[in-house]
Symmetry: C2
Subunit: 119 residues, 2 copies
């Protein structure tokens, strides 16, 4: 099988850059979740589907930033799970991202819109 190192180089995978971590924070907004669960949920959102090779390093970064905290809990149906929860700092980060995302998205939308303003 042909293997392409360096990850999938699609347009959408580039779009996820920088956005994904805040999507995860948003996922944790309403309660703690574990990594596998986050991956499954993102898989349902169009354009946000990712894999464990992405999510674990990402969560490790978020822990280091202290935007999330984590706690181990046993599962009755499988191996133990590490649950992640938003910290106050994480909540702030999410809020400030949202404030940056909106004008950015609008700027891109505006540029992409085809305007027929010829004279």
């Amino acid at each position: 099988m042909v293997v392409v190192p360096g990850g999938e180089r699609t347009v959408v995978s580039q779009l996820r850059r920088g956005v994904l971590q805040f999507c995860v924070l948003a996922q944790l907004r309403d309660g703690e979740k574990y990594a596998y669960e986050l991956v499954r949920e993102l898989g349902a959102a169009h354009g946000l589907a990712t894999s464990e090779g992405t999510i674990y390093p990402l969560l490790s970064r978020l822990r280091k930033l202290e935007w999330v905290s984590s706690s181990w809990q046993d599962s009755e149906t499988g191996p133990p799970r590490r649950y992640y929860a938003l910290t106050p700092a994480g909540r702030e980060a999410l809020q400030s991202f949202t404030a940056e995302w909106e004008p950015f998205r609008t700027a891109v939308d505006t540029l992409l819109e085809h305007k027929e303003n010829h004279r």
Copy 2:
């Protein structure tokens, strides 16, 4: 002076990843432009401001992909300019990006929206 190599590591600079090249294509949609001009125009759009160290490698990639063509033209007020124009392939790429961007943006927006659906 303290120098931080690796570029500015802000949230927005990560957001520009993968988007910028298509913004440039969009800028060229209505006629040819030169690099310096593109940088100035992007500087006006919130969140899309970039620098020459970004734009020249980017344009070089677009040339290699044959999404743009270029031609030198003398300026009456300064050094000669390299003008860039969209190729048919570039126009297609822009269109297909737009088709990917819209659901992506919507997915992020949906996640970021705070929904008060408790019970």
